[in-house]
């Protein structure tokens, strides 16, 4: 009986083992492992589903609270909006599908509770999400300062684009010199809240995601070598 039938090719048998693998399965072992991992990622997307659901639920609740609780408006002159901060996180950390879902459902939720024409909030959110997602490799997305800057830009850009879209559609939104103050407040709010959103979702990933694997107990100097020593 040969030990080779059990996959043991000895210390110098790596090349022979790789050749056997290619004849039997068509690919060497590292490629087979990578293929299995990708297949597992498709079949068990627990963390991805959780991200989508958590993002949409948070957007749904945030829009409701923005309409139901009027606490900030007497002080700041404007109700803070969480959707731009959520879109920054979704675009930089998750998949493009999440960007589309948040733009569609978050925008429709906002329009259904406000006097906006339905569909007007989705396009600015989508534009923001696409721009950030396409450039996410160029952004230091793990740095709080970068997150704050992007949150500030998003907080100012989304309302500006929405008002521009409303004006181009022939509506008469209430704009004036006071809108500059409101835009500044929304930008500061975006800068403050966006790093918190990243932390929140980071905590969710830590709690519900797979634990990172350690180096293991294998030591090359303790390997039992078979065959002739």
């Amino acid at each position: 009986m040969s030990w080779k039938r059990f996959g043991c090719y000895g210390r110098n048998g790596a090349e022979e083992a790789g050749e056997v693998g290619r004849r039997r399965w068509g690919r060497p072992a590292p490629q087979r492992v990578a293929a299995w991992a990708a297949w597992l990622g498709k079949e068990v997307p627990v963390l991805r589903s959780l991200q989508i659901v958590a993002t949409l639920v948070l957007a749904w609740l945030a829009v409701f609270l923005q309409a139901a609780w009027d606490g900030f408006r007497p002080i700041l002159g404007v109700q803070p909006d969480l959707l731009p901060a959520l879109m920054v996180h979704t675009a930089l950390r998750t998949h493009l599908v999440n960007v589309f879902l948040l733009a569609a459902l978050g925008g429709l939720a906002m329009d259904s509770l406000s006097a906006n024409p339905v569909g007007v909030t989705s396009l600015p959110l989508l534009a923001l999400g696409l721009v950030l997602h396409m450039r996410k490799e160029l952004v230091l997305r793990d740095q709080p300062f970068a997150q704050a800057v992007l949150g500030a830009l998003a907080g100012a850009a989304v309302p500006t684009l929405t008002v521009g879209l409303l004006l181009s559609l022939g509506h008469e939104p209430l704009v004036g010199w006071g809108s500059l103050w409101q835009g500044a407040v929304l930008a500061v709010w975006g800068a403050a809240v966006t790093p918190l959103v990243f932390r929140l979702f980071g905590a969710l990933e830590h709690w519900f995601g797979a634990a990172p694997t350690g180096p293991g107990s294998f030591r090359p100097d303790r390997e039992i070598r078979r065959g002739r020593v």
């Binding site: 829009v63 259904s112 339905v118 396009l123 929405t162 939104p173």
Partner: protein, 269 residues
Amino acid sequence: MWKRSHSVALGLLAGLSLLLLSLPEELAARFKVAFGALYLPLLGLAGAAHQAAQETAGLMVSRRELLRQNEQLRRENAQLRLETLQAAEWARENARLRRLLGWQEQSPWRDRLRLARVTLREPTPWWRSFTIDLGSRQGVRTGLPVLTPEGLVGRTSEVGPFHARVVLVGDANCRVSAQVLNVTGDTGLIGPAGPLDRDLVLLSYLPRTAVVRPGQAVVTSGLGGIFPKGIPIGTVVDVRPAGDGLYLEARVQLAAPLHVLEEVWVLWP
């Protein structure tokens, strides 16, 4: 990496948004009401929480304070009854004089009011509106005046089965024909002031020769067919020429505190 499926999704979402934006107003309102139904459970929870908070606050008020409020309300009730008697006499005299002149009789609108509670406020800073807990199931329809004992609030716009949106005075979509209570009874058009001026509106298109002074009352003129005549709007703050001197424009302090209202009255047709 950008894939073909992403292009399809982008096209679908952009197409859906453009389609929704180009819908007729009535269909778009129905779509908004249908999508807003997702928030009905939260509205119920918020209403229950609000009621529980009020009841808890009521339990914490001392007996002495309750007796004091009771006595104050009793005095106000007695005064209002006397005023109602006098107003009833004026209404009878008005109707008698109208009959003598051959004019059409007016039905008093105080008998057509229905109380509603404010549930949600406008989340965006470029509109002035809120949502009330009356809808088409209770007979609400678009264009009904909404007011408080202090003055005019606005009119209903988007009506769902259980809730309706009220566009406030000071929003661009709620223009009100108003009259200044001065010697000449000058009329103008109420419009929005600024995004941060929550309690101010502009009364525009007053004649150049109008004698408008700070402190004068402004009421609805009855023109336009939506708002009955005589509902208080506010008081004049200041006046200045506008439109290159073609007309006068007055800033009006609203009588009704729009941003702290919790209950309003809807005027039925």
